[in-house]
């Protein structure tokens, strides 16, 4: 439950979501990640710390650089990984249902 709360908080923030999408394409250093945002560098570091703490990102030392990877295994392990996708469809289908309940056929 604790983990789930953390992950929800982690992905509730738009910058953190943007970081996940960015790192999903390729692993990169904190500097490279920060250069993609207008946000102050310490703020980005804080976001990276949160994402790393809940294991959505993993760190790998490569020489003097630390690279951040997306941890897709972790994301899949969390049942809620599919949840936003499900919710997207749930919202669409709810809308469909509401629209069609009020539908008046043109005769």
């Amino acid at each position: 439950m604790n983990l789930r709360r953390d992950v929800f908080q982690a992905i509730a923030d738009p910058t953190r979501r943007a970081i996940l999408v960015l790192v999903a394409s390729q692993s990169m250093t904190a500097g490279t990640i920060a250069s993609n945002f207008d946000t102050a560098r310490p703020t980005v570091s804080k976001h990276l710390q949160i994402l790393t703490e809940c294991e959505l990102l993993t760190q790998e030392q490569n020489g003097r650089e630390i690279y951040y990877h997306l941890n897709p295994k972790k994301m899949k392990e969390i049942a809620d990984f599919v949840e936003p996708f499900r919710k997207l469809w749930e919202d669409r289908f709810n809308k469909l249902e509401t629209i069609m309940k009020n539908y008046k056929p043109k005769k």
């Binding site: 789930r4 709360r5 929800f8 908080q9 992905i11 509730a12 738009p14 979501r17 943007a18 996940l20 999408v21 999903a24 997306l70 897709p72 994301m75 899949k76 990984f81 599919v82 936003p84 996708f85 499900r86 919710k87 997207l88 469809w89 749930e90 919202d91 669409r92 289908f93 709810n94 809308k95 469909l96 249902e97 629209i99 069609m100 309940k101 539908y103």
Partner: protein, 154 residues
Amino acid sequence: MEQKTKINAEDGKQELLITREFDLPLELLFKAYVEPEILEQWMGTKVLKLENKKHGSWQFETTDPQGNKHGFSGVIHEFIDQQRITRTFEMENTSLGAQLEFLEFEKLGDDRSKLNMHIVYRSAAIRDQYLQFGMSRGMDLAHNRLQKVAEKLK
């Protein structure tokens, strides 16, 4: 709270199953899929083209909050009124490629119907990538709701 929409995404598989039961007659459920002006409302997309027939094609376009346009398109392989639509789906300008979708519409009663959506991707990796992409987009669209959930969990 009851979850009406169910998603089955088994680990390591290249497919996805979405099911949903509606408090609607089958006829109305199907109509929501074939009438462009209705589809536009619930899918939140612009319908540029929708040929509801075998060998027909379709083309949607959505505009994100930043004003960027995203194209979606495919062809229709099978179209059986109030029963089944088999089609391809592709998110244009992404590396995800085409996916195959089997939509089955089922009558459960006079005012009850069910949709089974079976999606087959090129690989399991692409399916997961798609789910991740769905996560970021879905999160934006359903953000307020999720935030409420997150706040409750604090």
